[in-house]
Each structure stands twice: as structure tokens, then as C-alpha cells.
């Protein structure tokens, strides 16, 4: 069939495209489906289960059949609905779910096996052996029955996201949506008009009815021009609102470059999060088919879609068509097609009282009971008045009535309400707040009603928002009544399709009924009715009607399944909506990051931070060589490590000391100005959760440090305490983590090195002892802070300068410390040093351990209350006798593996004999063997005992000697030198 006359396509331009390798031509304004029909292609796909030949059923996003793979290579996308793919030059499409070809598909054998492949077939058949399901059955079934294939390559396109706010969101650009947008925009409201189509007009583009006696498209064009001139309306074509969320938030996807041959740097799609004070749902209605025997052949389509293809795209699947209808709308199709010189073989109207609306053969009270044609419709069987006949036709338009698109209105568990006279579910009363249905979505089926209801919905919204708006003069339009007879399926023994996409027939629903899968949610899952890409837009109501008939209940009694977003298939990439790979999430860089990069450091991700893990030097071939060297430098000379990532919180106010007393389990209010104290915080439930240092810079000014991992959490908890628990205290908080570059200067020569940068500051042990702190200047006047604290167990300091000077400071320290052996060290050496010293860190403060377990039980002050203190004394926690110990392999060459579980020698290795676990382990260059820390039952009483560390994951175990949890300078003399 070639093109009909008319249509909204640009015949002055030709677009070349291919389908299954064959070249075709279409025009701008075409969809892939309309262009294929215009080229005489009716067969566009194979069905999901039976591999039945299928053609396009609809002219919109509800399309269940014409699913194709679009584009090639990494851009290949399966399951694209040909009915909504805008044609572009060079488009390449392929049919899917067929082998070797669309015309001859070997798996069509499934169709012959259909008596076996009924609903629940897989569940009943592939039950044993159980293990075969995942490995064998499911993959095999998925290969045989499926939709398109993924390219298995990374998506090369980019996606975007954005945020829009408006007074009034109009969902749908048909008659109702346009009238609503016009009303609100002229009233001065901020309006967004979103439509999934590439051309505004909705159903106006499909019909021949006039507006004010002129072409409907002229009225739409005038409106578009007006919208263009108004600053307060944003028209978004190719934009589908797919979900309604809380508080007036709507999710929408805009196709930015899907319709272009070359994206040329543009994003492919944009995910918009639209916040609207009010919205109108003008999403129109979807026509439903009538189920009859063999009603799925290519050429059988919805009558309204057939009219759309003829009127909008000047395309028709055949020169001879018939129409099967239960309402007046089918007659409109016959009338419009006849006007374009298509031969009308017959109009079969299920209603005995039906009257012809034109010069065509009417079979009133008739039913279509069968069809013929392997790859495309050839004839239909019609029964009427006790007679049966075969009528030849290449296409059949079917209209079983219209279902308002209530989906978005039902997204907040809103239940649509059945209307008996319209035989359809209408929007209920309990839809999302602020969303007003209008037009065909609210069953205003005539153009005049749609226009009026759109304007009224906008007026209502404007009234609610206090925006003065008046209804515009609406054009005169057709006001036809809509009458429909309750005919959903034609009784018969052969298979009659209800859900085309999932190959669900009336028989399957009968089987579900017989097997007691009667509630609609069971029916859906047992038969797969309403699943997959179309979510049953053309099938659900028919399926319910069939079930209702079987159970003898009404359709509303049968009920609907829950409506959920998204309304149409949405790509995961656009939901991700932004960066992938390195920029997937923000990275935080330390002030010495660029310097460390220059030194060839290896980095490790610590939350969002990138930290230097170790600094390999020439000749070092294994990371441990670097780490041993770095740790050795700290023990024997001086090491430098960027510790900026530790959280820093500035605490000020008259009650700062009291505030910290309540947060830390130990006492902070008595801390002297110019001194630092180690502090431990407990959770509300009494477990330990974070440790750090607390420095008092002034009577009313403390600086708290946290672990890197808990910096955000501690700050948040402190803010909660300040604002909600003790708002009576005078205390002010602010994070200064990023403001200061903090560098640990650790090792016996640290004082000598620091002496070279401080400006006349006395670093002597007397003037600045262990746990002292001070504000001072370094390097000729740079403001700085100095803390004499040690994580390594050596004489050590942390010096802080404004972050922008961190880079220069470490350069200067390296330069001035060259003769002292100054060595940068990373997080690996940091870990080795603290394990050697027995300092608890993340693995020990895992959220499952108590202060007593870590050996800090006496820190929980009895003299005051603090968060978690009372709960830490409850039986379950106080009775836990596991204690932190050091562990050394009995065989010096033996391994200590963190995560291993500890058992008494000779004891069975079971849960009830478990005596603890290894928390941290490393090779200690100081001890010259591996060492570990771990929690051991009554560990403090078992020093010198040999225990077994079991590592069943790797089938290993090791004999370990229990030692004190400090391998270096147990008396702490080096710290205080």
C-alpha cells in the first residue's frame, strides 16, 4: 500500500531508513511504524511466547507488538516501540525475538506447542531438580521467550537531569491539555506543558473534525505561536511525565536527541524533576481491543490507531479494511478511511441497533469469530444472525471502547472507579493531591468536552492558587456522544488474545480462574497479564472483564492491580541521570594531594577522600617494601603524613565544656587551656562509636577531631544534641575539616624538624609537653596550630595551616628535613604504626564493641552523665568479657589474618566455642613478624597463652601467642621525651 492523500508529513523531504536490512523511505513527521505501513510492511515483530507474527496495534506509547531493536553497536536499544519512534535519516531498525528471520521463525514451533505452554507452565514443569532452575531452565527459557537483546556494551551516550518548578504542570498536549495551558498561561501562572509526542495536538492530529470550522492543526499552530510569545509557559515536546511522587513532584523524561541522526555532543535524554503546585492530567485515553479467535494477526489493529495512521500519516495497512466495533467510534474510522478512497469491506458492530454512518456495508449485531493469513491478515470470519461468512480484507480496525489513562492519577494508590455506562475505569477521588484529571483521561470524550474540561481544570487550579484567570473563548468543536456496549471478548474455543505482548489469551485467564488464581494481583502474576514494556495498557481492563465474567462478579468487584511508576519504559541510564565512572560521586582531595601525585604516591579511596596509601621509591617492587621503609622512618627519624581527612569541629560558647562533657564518655570540662585530651564517644545504646582528640584553645573554645569515616556522623550527632537535646546550653558548632591542612610530623626527629619552621616558639618538653596544643605562626608569619599528639607511639606532632598552604608546607618540611631523613608516609604505614602501638581504629570501633572491650572501660566517667554511659553499664554490655589483646604468630614466619576467629587450642571450631576475632593485622617491621590485634574472651587474663586463629574461608589456621596490645614502647616513654 502506498501513501494516502493528506497527512501531517513533509512530502518535500525524503528520509531513508532500514528495517531488517531492507531500505525504505519515509518523510519528516513519520514514525517508524507509519513509515513501515506506508511501505506496505505489516509484519513488524514476533510475540513473546508463541513467536506469532505481529504487526503494529496502536499509534502511541501503549504499543505492545511492534517492538524493535533500534540503532547499532553500543547504541543498539531493544524493545523500542515503533509506534513512537520518530523517523530520522539513516535510522536502522531490526525485528527481534525471531530466528532466523522475521518471515520464518523457527521458534514459531512454540505456537504448535501452545496447549502445553499455558499459564503456569514453567512453574509446574521445571520444578526438579531444584538446582537446575537457575543454571539451566531459566537461561534456556529466557533465550527462547523474550524480547530484544542488549548490546552488552557500555552505554556511550550521556544523560542529564534537571529541576523545574511551576504553578501548573499540564500533562498532555491534546485538546484538554492545550485548553488548560492556555487558560493558565493567559492568567499569568508559570506553566509547563509536557507532551510525549513530537508534535502538539494529541488526538486532534488524528481526527478530521474542525475547530471553529477550520483545521484543528491551524488552531494548534496559533496556540503554539502564542505560547512562544509568553514568557511564563514552557512547552516541552518529547517529554513524558512517567510518575507522580510526594508533594507535587513529577518525574519526566525528555528525549533530547533520540530523534536525531547524530547526537553531536548533546545528551540523549534528560530526567526532569518537576515540582508543581497544581497539575492537570490530560493524558487522553487508550482504545482497547476486543478478544476474538486469532485476533493478533498483522493488519489487525485498533480502529482509532488505524484512523490516526490514515489522517496524520496518510498510511494504511491495506487497500481493503474492515472494522469491528462495539461503539460509534469504529464507524468514524470507516468514514475517514472511505474518504481517503480505502475500500471498506464491512463494519461489524456488536450492537444489534447500530446504524451506518456512511456508504459502507454494516453488519449490525455481528461478531468477528476468526481470521486467516499467516504473516498478515487475509480474511475474517463474521457471525451475525445465525449466519457465518468469511470476508476478505487486509486490515481490521477493532474498537472495544476507550479506557481513560488514569495511570498517573492512580500512582498514590488512588483507586480508579468503574463507570457502568462508559464501561471504563475513571479517575477516583483519592488521587495525588493537586492533580486534576481532564479531557479523555476524565472520560470527556468529545473534542468540545475535552476543551471545556481542560479549561475548567485550569480555572479550578488557578482559583486554588489565587491566580486570576478566566476561561478563554474555546473553539466550536464536535460534541458527539460516546456510547459503548459491554463487549470485551467473543466466546469461542480458539485462542483469543487479551495481552498481545505477553501472549495471554482468554484461555489462560480461564485456567487461572480454574486454578484459583482469581484475585487480580494473582491473575497478573500467574498469567503475566499486564507485565513488560506496555504494562498492559491495552489489556488490563479486558483481562479484568474476562475474570469478572468467570467469577460472576462485577468488574469493580474484581478490582484493578496497583498502578506504579513509570508510566512508560524509562532507561536506567537516565534515572542515573548524570556522571558515571570517575565522576560518579564527588571526590575529596587533601591539601597535599597534588604534591603526593608528584611524588608518585599510590592512592586509596577512604569514603569520598583520596588518600596517599604509600609512596613507592625507585627499586621498590612490592608495596610492603615501601610501607616497611615508611614505618621504619617514623620509628628512627621523622615521617610526614597528611591527616587533614580527620574531622575537625570548632566548638565555642560559654557552655562548650559542659556540652562536650555530655558527649564524650570521659571528662572534658576540666581540660586545661592549651592541652589536648583523648576522647571516646558512645552511641545512645552504650557501644563505642568514635574516638579522637579534643583540644582546648581557650576557656570557651575547643577543637574536636573525629575519625575520617565518622566526621559527618559525629558533626550531625553534635548538631542534634545542640539543637534538640540541650538547646539551653550556649554552644556553637561549625566544621573546619576542609579549612586546615593538618600534617602529622612523627618520629624521634620531629621536634628538630619543627624547630626549623616555627616562629620563635619554644618546643622544649617543658614548654610544650605531650598533649599540649597552641596557636602559633610558622614559616614567617603563617597562622598555624600545633598539637603534640601521637598515633604512632613516637614523639609526634600534628601541625595545621590554612588549607591552601598545605602543599607549600609539606614541600618546605621535606626540604628542611632532608638531612633528618624526613619521609612521607601513607595510610598503610599509618596503620602499621598504630597496630604496633595498639591504638584502636575503625576495625576495633566497629559499632559492636564497648569501651571496656577496647581496654578503655575506666574512661566512662562515673562522675557525670554522658550519651550512652548508662546504657554501657547494662548487663549485656558490661558482662562482655572479650578484651583487646595483641597477637603474634608462634612461628615467626606465620600469618595473622584479620577476620580470623579465635579458639582455644584443641577446642572444636563452632559458634558456641568461638572466643573472639582478629580485628587488625599487618607485618610489623619493628617486631619483624606479622602481628595482630583482636578481641579475645577474658583476653586480659590470658597473656602468654597460645590460641588458634581459624580462617575457614581460606582453609587456614594459625597458632598465635596472646600478648599485650602494644608492641612498641609499652611505657610510653618515647611520647614524652
Amino acid at each position: 500500500m502506498t501513501r494516502l492523500t493528506g497527512g501531517l508529513i513533509d512530502r518535500s523531504q525524503t528520509l531513508n531508513f532500514s528495517f531488517d536490512g531492507k531500505r525504505y523511505q519515509g518523510h519528516p513527521g513519520d514514525t517508524l511504524a507509519s513509515a513501515l505501513l506506508a511501505n506496505g510492511v505489516r509484519l513488524m515483530g514476533r510475540s513473546f511466547k508463541y513467536h506469532r507474527p505481529r504487526g503494529v496495534l496502536s499509534a502511541g506509547s501503549e504499543e505492545p507488538n511492534a517492538l524493535v531493536e533500534l540503532r547499532t553497536g553500543a547504541r543498539q536499544e531493544p524493545n523500542t516501540r515503533a509506534a513512537v519512534v520518530e523517523l530520522f535519516e539513516g535510522l536502522e531498525a531490526r525485528s527481534q525475538n525471531r530466528w532466523p528471520s522475521l518471515g520464518f521463525d523457527a521458534l514459531a514451533i512454540n505456537d504448535l506447542l501452545s496447549p502445553f505452554l499455558t499459564a503456569g507452565f514453567y512453574y509446574k514443569t521445571f520444578m526438579w531438580p531444584k538446582g537446575f532452575w537457575e543454571k539451566l531452565y531459566e537461561p534456556a527459557i529466557r533465550r527462547a521467550a523474550g524480547l530484544g537483546r542488549l548490546s552488552m556494551q557500555a552505554d556511550p551516550d550521556t544523560y542529564d537531569k534537571g529541576f523545574l518548578h511551576c504553578d501548573f504542570l499540564v500533562i498532555g498536549g491534546g485538546a484538554a491539555g492545550l485548553a488548560a495551558a492556555l487558560t493558565a498561561a493567559r492568567g499569568g501562572a508559570r506553566v509547563i506543558l509536557a507532551d510525549e509526542d513530537f508534535r502538539l495536538g494529541g488526538r486532534l492530529l488524528s481526527e478530521t473534525g474542525t475547530l471553529d470550522g477550520g483545521q484543528a492543526t491551524d488552531w494548534v499552530s496559533a496556540l503554539e505561536a502564542e505560547f512562544e510569545s509568553l514568557p511564563n509557559i514552557r512547552v516541552m515536546r518529547r517529554t513524558t511525565v512517567f510518575g507522580v511522587y510526594d508533594h507535587g513532584i513529577y518525574g519526566a523524561v525528555e528525549s533530547v536527541s533520540d530523534h536525531l541522526p547524530e547526537a553531536s555532543g548533546r545528551v540523549r535524554q534528560t530526567l526532569w524533576r518537576i515540582t508543581a503546585k497544581r497539575a492537570v492530567l490530560a493524558a487522553g485515553a487508550t482504545e482497547r481491543p476486543i478478544a476474538f479467535a486469532d485476533n493478533d494477526r498483522p493488519g489487525i489493529m485498533l480502529a482509532g490507531a488505524m484512523r490516526t495512521y490514515a489522517n496524520r500519516w496518510a498510511a494504511c495497512p491495506s487497500e481493503t479494511v474492515a472494522v469491528f466495533t462495539n461503539n460509534d467510534d469504529g464507524h468514524r474510522t470507516a468514514r475517514d478511511l472511505a474518504a481517503k478512497d480505502v475500500q471498506i469491506a464491512a463494519v461489524i458492530d456488536a450492537r444489534p441497533e447500530a446504524k451506518a454512518r456512511g456508504d459502507y456495508r454494516l453488519i449490525a449485531g455481528g461478531m468477528v469469530t476468526g481470521s486467516r493469513g499467516r504473516l498478515g491478515l487475509k480474511s475474517i470470519e463474521v457471525q451475525a444472525n445465525g449466519r457465518s461468512e468469511w470476508i476478505e480484507c487486509g486490515a481490521l480496525g477493532v474498537s472495544g471502547g476507550w479506557n481513560p489513562n488514569v495511570h498517573l492519577f492512580s500512582h498514590h494508590r488512588g483507586r480508579p472507579i468503574w463507570n457502568e455506562s462508559l464501561q471504563a475505569f475513571l479517575p477516583g477521588e483519592d488521587g495525588p493531591p493537586g492533580l486534576i484529571p481532564a479531557g479523555a483521561a476524565a472520560a470527556n470524550f468529545s473534542t468540545a468536552d475535552a476543551l471545556r474540561s481542560g479549561a475548567q481544570a485550569a480555572k479550578r487550579a488557578m482559583d486554588e492558587l489565587g491566580i486570576a484567570a478566566s476561561s478563554p473563548d474555546l473553539p466550536r468543536a464536535e460534541e458527539a456522544d460516546y456510547k459503548v456496549a459491554p463487549v470485551f471478548n467473543v466466546p469461542g474455543k480458539k485462542r483469543a488474545w487479551v495481552d498481545f505482548q505477553n501472549d495471554v489469551t482468554v484461555k489462560d485467564i480461564k485456567l487461572a480462574h480454574a486454578e484459583n488464581m482469581r484475585p487480580v494481583e494473582h491473575l497478573k502474576r500467574y498469567t503475566t497479564l499486564g507485565m513488560a514494556t506496555d504494562q498492559g495498557k491495552t489489556a488490563n481492563v479486558t483481562g479484568l472483564a474476562v475474570m469478572a465474567e468467570l467469577t460472576g462478579r462485577t468488574i469493580p468487584e474484581t478490582g484493578t492491580t496497583i498502578f506504579r511508576p513509570p508510566y512508560i519504559p524509562v532507561t536506567l541510564s537516565v534515572l542515573g541521570g548524570g556522571d558515571i565512572g570517575r565522576h560518579y560521586r564527588p571526590r575529596r582531595l587533601t591539601p597535599t594531594n597534588h604534591w603526593a601525585e608528584g611524588q608518585g604516591a599510590v592512592f586509596v579511596e577512604v569514603g569520598q577522600w583520596m588518600r596517599a596509601q604509600y609512596f613507592p621509591r625507585a627499586g621498590e617492587t612490592h608495596w610492603r617494601q615501601s610501607v616497611d621503609r615508611e614505618a621504619g622512618a617514623v620509628r628512627s627519624a621523622v615521617g610526614l603524613c597528611d591527616v587533614t581527612t580527620l574531622g575537625k569541629i570548632d566548638v565555642q560558647g560559654a557552655d562548650a565544656g559542659e556540652f562536650l562533657n555530655r558527649l564524650y564518655c570521659n571528662i572534658m570540662a576540666t581540660l586545661k587551656v592549651g592541652r589536648v585530651r583523648y576522647g571516646l564517644m558512645l552511641r545512645e545504646d552504650g557501644f563505642a562509636y568514635d574516638d579522637g582528640t579534643c583540644a582546648r584553645l581557650a576557656e570557651d573554645h575547643y577543637v574536636v577531631t573525629t575519625t575520617t569515616a565518622n566526621a559527618g556522623l559525629v558533626y550531625r550527632n553534635m548538631e542534634f544534641a545542640r539543637q534538640c537535646l540541650w538547646s539551653d546550653l550556649d554552644v556553637q558548632l561549625i566544621s573546619t575539616t576542609d579549612a586546615w591542612a593538618q600534617i602529622a610530623v612523627a618520629g624521634p626527629k620531629s621536634r628538630a624538624l619543627l624547630a626549623r619552621i616555627v616562629d620563635g616558639f619554644d618546643l622544649s618538653n617543658e614548654a610544650f609537653p605531650f598533649m599540649a596544643c597552641a596557636e602559633l605562626t610558622v614559616c614567617d608569619g603563617l597562622r598555624a596550630r600545633l598539637f603534640r599528639i601521637s598515633f604512632s607511639g613516637e614523639l609526634a606532632y600534628e601541625v595545621a595551616v590554612p588549607a591552601r598552604f598545605g602543599h607549600a608546607l609539606i614541600e618546605r618540611l621535606m626540604e628542611l628535613g632532608a638531612d633528618l631523613g624526613a619521609t612521607p608516609y601513607g595510610t598503610e604505614a599509618l596503620g602499621v604504626l598504630r597496630i604496633e602501638k595498639g591504638h584502636a581504629a575503625g576495625p576495633e570501633l566497629s559499632g559492636q564493641t564497648t569501651a571496656a572491650m577496647v581496654g578503655l572501660g575506666s574512661m566512662v566517667s562515673q562522675k557525670k552523665d554522658s550519651v550512652g554511659a548508662v546504657m554501657s553499664r547494662r548487663g549485656g554490655l558490661a558482662g562482655d568479657r572479650r578484651r583487646l589483646v595483641g597477637l603474634r604468630p608462634v612461628d615467626p614466619a606465620g600469618k595473622v589474618v584479620s577476620g580470623s576467629h579465635l579458639f582455644a587450642e584443641g577446642a572444636p571450631r563452632k559458634c558456641d566455642t568461638d572466643q573472639g576475632w582478629v580485628t587488625s593485622a599487618c607485618y610489623s617491621p619493628h617486631v619483624r613478624s606479622m602481628i595482630g590485634l583482636g578481641f579475645l574472651e577474658k583476653g586480659d587474663e590470658r597473656l602468654g597463652e597460645v590460641i588458634v586463629a581459624a580462617n575457614p574461608l581460606e582453609g587456614e589456621s594459625a597458632r598465635l601467642l596472646v600478648v599485650p596490645a602494644c608492641f612498641v614502647d609499652p611505657e610510653g616513654e618515647r611520647l614524652r621525651e
Partner: protein, 186 residues
């Protein structure tokens, strides 16, 4: 002045500057910042003569400005004073207040539109979930940009500043640059 030479948040000697059509994004390394919070019983300080603004607002004087950051809390900005200890200077004007140096905690990106106004709104709509109709000059918000907590300040019709954590300056620049480049391609 110290002999040490600072680097920018983006790790360079000089601030970054880039143009995308009519949009210009400039790293403002001269901006001094300090937080100011009222202590119990303190009433109405007027640092540098500024009337401290209410929620969601930013107010500017001569080179100095303040934005509301929470109940009884503000961030004070001073153009071109980053080299000095700004907190110490501010303290003299803020008796009875807690003042904390914040200059190095943040990176400031100034986004200036040289013509029209639409591109700025279009850029912001890709970055922040804020109703731009209510975000005219003098408005400021704390909000998220690509999972980074930021202050966004509408300094004038054609000028927006984004303040983000200094450590994630590169990620923030990437987010702004990506959005601006995409806008340029439209």
C-alpha cells in the same frame, strides 16, 4: 607575610577562569569567609555595618556581605581579604559572638552572565532544585549539587556564586563545567 606560597583549591598557582558562551565561571580565591554565630544573650551585631539578613537571604555592603546559614548563624564574606586572618578582624566587630575562620574551608565559584538572563536560569535548573522564581538577587540557599553540599548565592540578576567544600573543588568544577558546556551546545 609568610614565605609559603599558597595554591588554589583546584591545585594551581592561579585561579581558574572559563567561558561558556555568555557564561563565565571564575574561581574566586580572594574571598575571605568567616562564620558568625550569636552566643546566648547577644543581640543584633552589625559587623562592618551590615544588617544581618533573615533566612534564605544574602546582603551586601562595600566589599563585605553576609548570608544566613541557620538560626542565629551567618557566613560573612569579604572580597579580596583571603590573605589575612579574616576571623580575627571580624571578631572585633562581633562582641558576644562565636567567630570561626572559614576562608580555607570553601571554594568559591562566581558564575557571571555577560548577556541576557535565560542561560543563567537554564544552568541553575540543571544544578539545583530551587524554585528560581523565588531566587532573585539577594537570595541564598544551602543546597546539594551532585551530592555536594553548597551555598548558592544570587549576587545579582546576572551573577550567582557557588560555595562548596574546598576538598571537593575539582568535582564541583566538573559539575559546573559539564552543565555549562551542555548549555553552550544547545
Amino acid at each position: 607575610m609568610s614565605e609559603l606560597i599558597p595554591i588554589t583549591a583546584l591545585g594551581a598557582a592561579l585561579p581558574r577562569l572559563a567561558s561558556f558562551g555568555a557564561l563565565e565561571i571564575r574561581e574566586n580565591v580572594g574571598l575571605a569567609l568567616a562564620s558568625l554565630a550569636l552566643r546566648r544573650g547577644t543581640i543584633g551585631p552589625r559587623p562592618f555595618g551590615l544588617t544581618l539578613p533573615g533566612p534564605g537571604r544574602w546582603i551586601a555592603g562595600q566589599g563585605v556581605a553576609a548570608l544566613w546559614t541557620g538560626p542565629d548563624q551567618w557566613m560573612i564574606e569579604y572580597e579580596g581579604r583571603a590573605d589575612l586572618g579574616f576571623a580575627a578582624e571580624l571578631k572585633q566587630f562581633a562582641a558576644g559572638c562565636s567567630v570561626t575562620e572559614q576562608t580555607d574551608g570553601w571554594v568559591a565559584f562566581e558564575i557571571v552572565l555577560r548577556a541576557g538572563s535565560r542561560p543563567l536560569e537554564a544552568l541553575l535548573s540543571k544544578l539545583i532544585n530551587i524554585d528560581l522564581a523565588d531566587f532573585g538577587p539577594g537570595r541564598a540557599r544551602r543546597t546539594g549539587i551532585e551530592h555536594m553540599s553548597c551555598f548558592v548565592i544570587r549576587r545579582s540578576e546576572a551573577h550567582v556564586a557557588v560555595l562548596g567544600a574546598r576538598s571537593s573543588a575539582a568535582s564541583l568544577w566538573h559539575a559546573l563545567e559539564t552543565a555549562a558546556k551542555r548549555l553552550e551546545r544547545k
